[in-house]
């Protein structure tokens, strides 16, 4: 089920490469992960249970007012950008 090709595909989807050593370690870990996931899947009656996404059920009963809560200036937004000109970040040309 878990192959080197699959590990590399997942890594590629996440925009990074894995070394051969990393792939092998992952395959070892995935054996354990699969067993651990079975522990979860084998708990009786879970198909009837609603997933809990936060420590408690969060219900939003109203929309916030449409107010401007914060603003980061263009100058601030570009402070950590390593390649910029005037008020934009420079990247290679995307459209031909």
């Amino acid at each position: 089920m878990f192959t080197k090709e699959l590990m590399n595909k997942y890594a590629n989807d996440l925009l990074f490469d894995l070394s051969e050593e990393e792939v092998n370690l992952l395959l070892e870990e995935f054996d354990v992960i699969r067993e651990n996931m079975e522990i979860i899947s084998n708990i009786e009656g879970i198909s009837e249970v609603e997933p809990l996404s936060f420590p408690y059920d969060i219900t939003v009963s109203s929309l916030r007012d449409d107010e401007d809560l914060q603003n980061i200036s263009t100058e601030d937004a570009l402070k950590n950008c390593h390649d910029k000109i005037e008020d934009v970040a420079i990247v290679p040309k995307v459209v031909g």
């Binding site: 590990m7 950590n80 970040a89």
Partner: protein, 483 residues
């Protein structure tokens, strides 16, 4: 005469009485960091000025340390990851902002496991953090530098974050107090997100009262955090510390504490210590009960944690591309640049965690893995919510032994995980207030006991820990190792 190894009230009184001034306190902290950092590696950045706001707060002019995954405007914050090398935030985390408003004096940023995704304090790009009780042992993680710096008496308190046990386990390993309050009591705004549904901001101190003082200063509703608690602004945690616990009901879980389940002599020693602690608790006026929880659900704690945390982390860290911030990658197009930046920037551990998260989040796996993990999370939370209706708190050892030696440090996912090492994540699943206090030693390394209570029951949890702490001899201790 040193001050920063004392409690907050003592330091504050010394300032009020003009025995010492904030500059001298800052100098003391910097001098201790200079002397110890070669061996402990608790800090990656030391602030070389004494800027603080004048205020009438007890925290005014007193140095503290901040885990390096909380945004500090104009001060480098890297989460010990190459992907954030030289990153300087342009806004403040709410917890930090509140400390600034109280006049607290930030003295340095502390090392952590990369992006807070680890439990050893050995995986950050700034190197291994050492335990001040014995530098050949780990401090624990991920808030390793915060725990180490408080234990070493460098600062009276440090801020940390806790997604699975990242405050409470290193606190136990370093012999200090570690408190993670209810989910949302302290705003997560400006905390670099690891797993948003589990992340908490909390504190390390050397006594329970100081933990209450700090959380009183940094808690409060924050509209910048959608999960921020709205109805606890008026609660004073420090005023709730009266030590009156007569008739309070504690429970422990038989499946976790039964010595017959363990072969390791150190774990048996840990559980002997726990037994004698329970006797002391009873003598103090606590009622102590044994409860049973389905072992299948307890065995699921670590798998649930791995599943939810890896999945959420994969998504949360997708913004680390090297384009808007962080070191740029090389490439002829944007995708190649991002791929190069992420390949070079993330450590092997982080990449493995993200691949696991990606697997769990694949369309064909979400139902079976991600949603099932969240379903079992609900089952566990419902069980503990019911137990907290019956009892005031859950009491358990924090781990199966003291801090492992650095040779044993591993963040690899293995089959050897035991519940005694993983149960603290229950506090994150249900957002429960949860505190570790030191309770003894095994082989000269400190161990801790944890008390967890119902959601929003922070005052009760702190008061129970406060009472128990006063019967033990470890309050305000600093590490006795050579560092």
């Amino acid at each position: 005469m040193t001050y920063l190894d004392k409690d907050l009230t003592t330091i504050h009184e010394a300032l009020v009485n003009k025995e010492v001034n904030p500059k001298e306190l800052a100098d003391e902290a910097r001098s201790k960091i200079a002397k110890t950092n070669g061996k402990l590696n608790a800090f990656n950045l030391v602030i070389d000025n004494e800027e603080y706001k004048e205020s009438d707060s007890i925290l005014c002019g007193i140095p503290y340390a901040l885990k390096d995954n909380l945004s500090t405007k104009g001060i480098k914050t890297t989460a010990c990851s190459d992907t954030l090398k030289d990153y300087v935030p342009v806004f403040n985390a709410t917890a930090y902002e509140k400390l600034c408003d109280s006049g607290a004096l930030l003295i340095g940023k502390t090392n952590l496991d990369e992006l807070a995704m680890g439990g050893t304090g050995t995986t950050g790009n700034t190197g291994i953090v050492h335990n001040p009780w014995n530098i050949s042992h780990m401090a624990g993680g991920s808030s390793a530098g915060s725990a180490s710096s408080v234990a070493a008496g460098i600062v009276p308190y440090a801020i940390g974050s806790d997604t699975g046990d990242s405050i409470r386990k290193p606190a136990a390993f370093c012999g200090v107090v570690g408190f993670k309050p209810s989910y949302g009591l302290i705003s997560r705004y400006g905390l670099f997100a690891f797993a948003s549904s589990l992340d908490h901001v909390g504190v390390f101190t050397r006594n329970v009262k100081d933990a209450a003082i700090i959380v009183d200063h940094i808690k409060g509703y924050d509209k910048k955090d959608m999960t921020s608690i709205r109805d606890m602004d008026d609660v004073s945690l420090v005023n709730g510390l009266d030590g009156n616990i007569k008739g309070k009901k504690l429970f422990y879980i038989d499946e976790i504490c039964n010595k017959d389940n363990y072969d390791n002599p150190k774990t048996k020693e840990m559980l002997d210590n726990f037994d004698s602690l329970l006797e002391k608790a009873k003598d103090l006026g606590f009622e102590v009960y044994k409860e049973s929880v389905d072992i299948k659900l307890l065995n699921a704690i670590k798998p649930i944690y791995d599943c939810i945390s890896c999945a959420e982390a994969t998504s949360n860290n997708s913004n680390l591309t090297g384009i808007p911030f962080g070191p740029r990658g090389n490439g002829e197009n944007v995708m190649d640049m991002m791929k190069d930046a992420r390949t070079k920037g993330f450590s092997p551990l982080i990449k493995r965690r993200f691949v696991i998260g990606s697997f769990i989040l694949q369309k064909e796996n979400q139902e079976k893995y991600f949603l099932n993990a969240k379903r079992v999370r609900r089952l566990l939370v419902e069980i503990f919510n019911k137990l907290f209706e019956k009892y005031d708190g859950l009491i358990l050892p924090c781990s199966s032994a003291g801090a492992p030696s650095l040779e044993q440090a591993s963040d690899k996912i293995t089959r050897n995980d035991i519940i005694l090492e993983n149960h603290l994540a229950i506090g994150n699943f249900g957002g429960y207030p949860s505190i570790t206090i030191p309770c003894g030693f095994i082989d000269k390394m400190p161990i801790g006991v944890n008390i967890t209570g119902k959601f929003k029951g922070d005052a009760n949890v702190l008061n129970m820990a406060y009472a128990l702490e006063n019967t033990l001899e470890f309050k305000n201790q600093t590490a006795k190792g050579e560092f």
